[in-house]
Amino acid sequence: MERFLVIGERIHCISPVIRQAIADRNSAPILQRAKEQLDAGAVYLDLNIGPAERDGEEVMAWAVRLLQENFDNVPLCLDTANKKAIESGIKVYNRSKGKPIINSADAGPRLGLLEVAAANDAMAIALCAKEGIPTGVEERIMYCTEMLEKAMTLGIDPMDLLFDPLFLVIKGMQDKAQEVLETIRQITEMGLRSNAGLSNVSNGAPKHVRPIIDATYCAMAMQCGLTAAIVNPCDPRLMETIKTCDMIKGNMLYADSYLEL
């Protein structure tokens, strides 16, 4: 089995530092966060430029070039609702280290992003949602199959899709936690890959508790077959947990120093 795919989440326009850096085209804060995440073990970096309705195309191309030129063509997750911005990012993207991942399509208004993925030989995160929060496992799986069918008619390799069952915050939606895990199990049984937007789950919990919830939930999801997650790789507890799960699952060979890799 392949190792778990860690996608670093920290270049996100919700952070004031990053938002400002994008607005000013100031590379330093973005490069610094990229380096921290890669040093901590991220494989892909998520590049979230927000809705970017005004200058998205220019921003995305600038940021893709910036990151890939400075970090040996690091593979990226292009994260925006702006379709044109994604296309402009892919246009300058170097795929020697991995295909670009579009973050994200869904079964509703963003279904069209699958066409962008197909037209550009890109991977895509496929959110198992249409409008609002899906009510249960069945509804999630229904969206999953809808998107799978659509993707296959477009000629996308199913292995290029990361199905995201929509991870929900525990504090407030505790009863959904098991549904998400069950959905991953069923996605895995279909032979498909999956992704988690993991940091959602511990939102609102005390700061010292969050890494514990994130790491434990991630371990449980990995046992259900989860193959990728967008996470904060600078959280050592989470990264140690992911490596240990990978090792126990046989995705990585044991050596005494396995945590240092």
Partner: protein
């Protein structure tokens, strides 16, 4: 419908490592498929064959070999030259058995002086094998690495007890290659590679010696360890196991009873040399098929047979 060959693609590949200098330098590794699967991808440099010589006269070797090498075996440099001219292996393995504290216990200076003579006598790449005494090897390799600076030799081998000095002196200071030796255990092989990598020694400068045994003597463990290491390197893209593998076949095969027992002791087994060669060939073929990138052999006829075997398969 046209027949479409299915191809097994792997995400990882074995590092390409260079040994020696000049026209006769060789490459080890470089493949991204399992051995001989040329229909799946790049088989890299293919297995390389080395012949073993000693720093002292080979009293324990079979008479047939002593006769074959004659007086050249009294002087390692002359011996090396003879091997290069007459048998043209891919590399020569100079084994410094005379340094063994339980034997002649020759000084490291004496061994180093001999090593440089050998290096000057031939153009072939050299593998320098130690005594397998961890403390002596540490001093021995440190000195040998120093005098052989510029020859880009392989130091065989560093173990967990002495890797720091051998890797630091051998690779960092004098730009040689180091063999990381573990005892037929994939997790230990990986661990030692990680430790050497942590000394800032790149994987391109490391060869693995993952343990060896003669066929019939726990050989299945050796073959399956090599096999699993290759699958982890290629299939899981495990960067810590992507170094080429060397197997000193002759170090074992001539010591087990099939290779060591004389015709007087076991007349029913037939000629001792023939047995030794058969053991050497069987073992070498096994480790090469499992994924070894280089083998060390003793008898030129074994080397010739393995070369013919490789030529037929590739």
């Amino acid at each position: 419908m046209a027949f479409k060959t299915s191809v097994q693609k792997y995400s990882g590949n074995v590092c390409n490592l260079e040994l020696g200098t000049g026209e006769k330098k060789i490459s080890l590794g470089g493949q991204n498929v399992i051995p001989f699967y040329s229909f799946d991808g790049d088989t890299g440099s293919g297995a390389k064959i080395g012949l073993e010589i000693l720093d002292i006269y080979p009293d324990n070797w079979v008479d047939e070999l002593k006769n074959l090498y004659g007086s050249a075996a009294n002087n390692a440099a002359e011996w090396a030259r003879l091997v290069e001219e007459k048998y043209s292996p891919d590399f020569i393995c100079l084994r410094l058995v005379g340094a063994d504290p339980n034997g002649l216990n020759k000084s490291v200076e004496e061994c180093a002086a001999l090593a440089i003579e050998v290096a000057k006598a031939v153009k072939l790449p050299l593998v320098i094998a130690g005594t397998q005494n961890h403390e002596k090897d540490l001093k021995l390799f440190e000195k040998v690495a120093e005098v052989l600076e510029g020859y880009n030799v392989l130091l065989l081998a560093a173990v967990e007890e002495n890797y720091k000095t051998i890797a630091a002196a051998g690779v960092t200071a004098y730009k040689h290659k180091v063999a990381a030796e573990s005892s037929v255990d994939i997790n230990l092989a990986k661990q030692l590679n990680i430790l050497i990598n942590q000394l800032e020694v790149k994987s391109e400068n490391i060869v693995m010696h993952v343990g060896s045994a003669a066929v019939g003597y726990g050989f299945e463990y050796v073959a399956s360890t090599i096999d699993r290491i290759r699958l982890a390197a290629l299939g899981q893209n495990d960067k810590t196991l992507q170094m080429p593998i060397i197997t000193p076949v002759s170090f074992d095969t001539w010591n087990v009873k099939e290779g060591a027992s004389t015709i007087e002791d076991t007349p029913e087994w037939g000629d001792q040399t023939e047995r030794g060669i058969a053991m050497e060939i069987s073992t070498a073929v096994g480790v090469i098929a499992a994924g070894s990138d280089a083998v060390i052999l003793r008898h030129p006829r074994s080397a010739q047979t393995i070369r013919a075997f490789l030529g037929k398969l590739i």
